[in-house]
Amino acid sequence: MTDVPMSLSKTYRRRLPRGFAGRGGLWLGLALLGGFVVLGFAGSFVSLPPPEKIDLLTRLAPPSAVHPLGTDHLGRDVLARLIGAVPVSLGAAIATMAAILAIALPWGLTAALAGGKVDALLMRLADIVMAFPTLVLALAVIGFLGASLEASIIGVAAAWWPSNARLLRALVLSARQRDFVRAAGLAGASPARVIWRHVLPQVLPPLAVIVSLEMASVLLVLSSLSFLGIGAQAPTPEWGAMLNEARPFFARAPHMLLVPGLAVTLAVLAFNLIGEGLRDMLDQREPYKW
């Protein structure tokens, strides 16, 4: 963003206050995410009962001074479980995203750079996996591995990587066609240098947008799987699993329904806002007004 010419950066500044979903959204998203990180660490500083501690005498208690967010059907502190779930839920999403990129990056890069038959073969293989709806394939893989958080991470990554491999291939192909990249090649730069110095810097910003938007979707899918009972298993605190446990009781204890659902929504919102904010920053064009 440093080499934006003066005139462009002016229109860019004028255009940005598009409210919540523009740069304001980016900051709000980052703040939300920071809030979750702080919350994750807060568990070790604030004295809370352990998230797995069962107390059958205080079942389904509404929020009070002792239990700020109430207790669940086993008398466990909802706030403690909410905080205990931060590293589990976010960590699972990060692990899944890392696994997706670990396959998609080399796959897409190889396809784009090798071209020809290798490209065709790699893309056909990706097509086969993409022929199934993501959740359907993830369900099959989890059926294969047995229900657990690890299995749902593997299942989602296994079903998800092809679309990202395709996106990366398209990004690299369009980056390689730019004149200055061709010029670098013609001027005698080694292929490795062309890729490292000229192609990758073009791919990284859109990749950042993709990664943060995908993080939002991955979080949603992982919590859905836990909600279905085939992701994180009891007694691990996880937002989707907490909602699943709350289902039979939510008429009597609505706080059990509201708290974890709000946590998932805010975490997903954080990544969506960051992704959209980054995209707005990268897209410098101004639409004509009618």
Binding site: R18, A21, F132, L135, G143, L220, V268, W290
Partner: protein, 312 residues
């Protein structure tokens, strides 16, 4: 066009073949013995001979590659064997549950397309403040997990207001809440695509010219922007339909909608592999058919592609 369809189908053969391999092996290699599980579930005592007999009945005594060839041969003729849990033919089981899932996915897709066009078009044409508000609304809507949305809707409309009931029988009235749940989320994420596409077109010179000529926004939208975004949107609709068919699993479970979601979750729990295999094949084929339809729309809507096809 016939030529394109012909080649598209020919080149799809390896993909469909790979799909069948994946569907067969991912299920067949799954640990856990469906025969033992079923025999235990029956409750009565059983001898090793019973196990061997049941294995032979389901063809599980043959080596895996042979089973694959036999299974594929049957599958091509529309035969997917019998369900281990219920003993009924898989095709019968699927045809009982499939219509409900298709109805839900189709009504949710219609709802999602309507919501997305409204959100997307309003976000570019409304005054600044309203547009920002709409985009905010869209981002928040995209971020709400469908299972939470479903539970909130149940809490409000079933428990507080009593306008709907939870244990339905698959009638039209029971379709409303699941459709609203699915189409809100899908409509919001499609709305982002619509907004992005229209916004990208509005940066182009041909739109600038149309504005300069004094055309009305509606006419610009219909005559200049719509033809150029219909192709990408068709692809997005096809993907959404796939996501709706898969995502219906969650919403069907919560609302007790008698669709494939119920069948597949039960089948996964019981390791009823003929059902899981058939489910994967049907989902894959359905998805394949929709994306083929999307490709046809892409070509019809793009004169360059249309002419290119006519020339080769």
């Amino acid at each position: 066009m016939t030529r394109f369809l012909f080649w598209r189908l020919i080149t799809a053969i390896p993909t469909l073949f790979g799909m069948s391999l994946l569907a067969f092996f991912i299920v067949s290699l799954t640990p856990g013995d469906p025969v033992m599980q079923e025999l235990r579930a029956m409750g009565s005592a059983f001898s090793p001979e019973d196990v061997a007999a049941m294995r032979a009945e389901f063809g599980l005594d043959k080596p895996l590659p042979v089973r694959y060839v036999l299974w594929l041969g049957d599958a091509v003729r529309g035969e997917f064997g019998t369900s281990i849990a219920s003993g009924r033919s898989v095709i019968d089981e699927i045809s009982i549950y499939l219509p409900a899932t298709l109805t839900l996915a189709a009504s949710a897709l219609v709802g999602a397309v309507a919501i997305s066009l409204t959100l997307g078009i309003a976000a570019v044409s409304a005054p600044r403040g309203v547009a920002a508000l709409l985009r905010t609304f869209t981002v928040v809507l995209v971020s709400i997990p469908s299972f939470w949305m479903a539970l909130l809707l149940i809490w409000v409309f079933v428990m507080q207001l009593g306008w709907a009931r939870l244990v339905g029988n698959g009638s039209l009235g029971d379709l409303v809440l699941p459709t609203v749940t699915l189409s809100l989320a899908a409509g919001a994420s499609l709305g982002r695509v619509v907004h992005e596409r229209i916004r990208a077109e509005m940066c182009e010179d041909h739109v600038r010219l149309a504005i300069a000529k004094g055309q009305s926004p509606a006419s610009i939208l219909i005559r200049h922007i719509a033809p150029r975004i219909i192709g990408p949107l068709a692809t997005a609709w096809a993907n959404t339909l796939g996501a709706l068919l898969g995502g219906a699993v969650i919403v069907e479970t919560i609302f007790g909608w008698p669709g494939l979601g119920q069948l597949i979750l039960q089948a996964i729990a019981q390791r009823d592999y003929p059902i899981i295999q058939a489910y994967l094949v049907f989902m894959g084929l359905g998805y394949f058919a929709t994306s083929l339809l999307a490709d046809v729309i892409v070509i019809i809507s793009d004169p360059q592609l249309r002419r290119g096809l006519a020339y080769d």
